[in-house]
């Protein structure tokens, strides 16, 4: 049967309880006297018309559907012989009503919280990095520990990943090339060169390689590097500029 139904997206509802509230509000039903047969029918109709996009959420909707059908059956069946433990006249719908009311409370609270956050957001605290006397957020680690951890990562990584060793060869090449270019620049104009000049046009991959190479050259005291400010270009000089480059 092909039917032209409005295509409803399931995610429009956070869950089955929200869908039930939608139906209750739409049909102006009394929450304390829900016509179970009616609401079950409406609910099932919605489910059929909905687009099922996320299977997890669909499961929650289907679970509710089975609970509604069970409830409907209980309402239809003749009242069971009175259970001694059960109070006379207990409404089988009570649990559903409680859940619906609980859910509505949750929704109200969510709205109130959102409102609260919005009110608070016009209070600006200080922008923290500013000022000489500002407290620095301390970190339970220092740079030496970082190096130590990185060393561990490397020793762990090298034997298992073939491309790491390939990368190291490339770094060696990069280092030599950087040094040659720096050397040439120094001989020509007796000045250092900026990192971007030395690398020249290159892919991002090559930039990474060159930067690592630079760090390594600095560590080995082959070059000196200066950077006026973070993120500005790095000026590089031969480490022993007066005596020329040892490499």
């Amino acid at each position: 049967m092909v039917r032209e139904a409005p295509r409803l997206v399931l995610e429009a509802f956070e869950g089955p309880l929200q869908l039930l509230w939608h139906l209750i509000d739409r049909d102006q039903l009394n929450i304390y006297d829900i016509p179970i047969a009616h609401i079950t029918e409406q609910y099932m109709q919605y489910l059929q018309e909905m687009e099922w996009q996320e299977i997890d959420i669909a499961g929650d909707f289907i679970l509710m559907a089975t609970q509604l059908v069970q409830l409907k059956l209980r309402m239809l069946l003749p009242k069971p012989v009175r259970d001694s433990d059960q109070e006379d006249g207990e409404d089988p719908r009570q649990e559903l009503v409680d859940r619906l009311l609980g859910y509505r409370a949750v929704q109200t609270l969510a709205g109130q919280l959102e409102e609260r956050a919005s009110q608070h957001s016009v209070h600006f605290g200080r922008a923290v990095e500013r000022g000489d006397y500002t407290v620095r957020a301390p970190i339970d680690c220092n740079a030496a520990q970082l190096a130590h951890l990185m060393g561990k990562v490397l020793t762990r990584a090298i034997p298992t990943h073939a491309h790491i060793s390939r990368q190291q060869v490339t770094i060696g090449q990069c280092m030599r090339r950087l040094l040659v270019r720096l050397n040439n620049a120094w001989r020509r104009i007796r000045q250092g060169a900026s990192f971007s000049q030395l690398v020249g046009p290159a892919s991002r991959q090559e930039w990474v390689m060159n930067f690592i190479s630079l760090l390594e050259l600095i560590r080995r005291k082959k070059v000196r590097a200066e950077q006026a400010e973070p993120l500005t270009d790095i000026q590089i000089y031969p480490y022993r500029a007066r005596r020329g480059i040892s490499a």
Partner: protein
């Protein structure tokens, strides 16, 4: 007598300096420890600062958030401050995440299953999001089968929502009951 006044003045200045410099709310204990003043003195300095800020038509105010004290700009100047490049920090949470957060806030400590039964939908995804955002955290395990994780809200939750304490949560909406319906 004048010594006492001077001491009070100094305490106030010290508290103001600490509050100004700290990147997060400070507790009485924090300030007492750092300054070497007794907590009672820090407390009275806080009170007179708060009064002064209110009385003197100042640009800043003192608030109790996240179980600590913090200075904020007065809300009536927020437009100017936004003009200068600050942005309002409203926690960008989906409706589902907000719902889950309010369930945890009001019912904590609470398990995932309990959250889901209240909301009627799976909530593992939103619980993970909220944990990653630092708004909720694990607060132990429930003593039942499977020892499920119990979730609680964090200090950051209080700070981001401008709440001093959990008692500052907006009141629960009242169930009107069948009579009034």
């Amino acid at each position: 007598m004048s010594d006492e006044r001077e001491l009070g003045q100094l305490a106030k200045a010290a508290v103001e300096a600490m509050l100004f410099a700290a990147p997060q709310p400070l507790t009485l204990a924090d300030m007492a420890r750092a300054s070497g003043m007794p907590e009672s003195q820090v407390h009275s300095a806080l009170r007179s600062l708060q009064e002064e800020y209110a009385k003197q038509e100042r640009g800043i105010l003192l608030q109790y958030v996240g179980q600590g004290y913090q200075l904020f700009s007065r809300p009536e100047f927020s437009t100017m401050i936004q003009e200068l490049g600050r942005q309002r920090q409203v926690p960008a949470l989906s409706r589902a995440a907000l719902e889950t957060l309010s369930v945890v806030a009001y019912r904590q400590p609470i398990t995932r299953a309990e959250v889901e039964s209240l909301r009627g939908v799976r909530s593992d995804g939103t619980l993970t999001t909220l944990s990653e955002r630092g708004l909720i955290a694990e607060g132990g395990r429930k003593d039942t089968v499977g020892r499920p994780i119990l979730y609680v809200t964090t200090q950051q939750f209080l700070v981001e929502f401008g709440l001093g304490d959990l008692e500052d949560l907006p009141p629960l909406p009242e169930d009107p009951g069948p009579d009034e319906a």
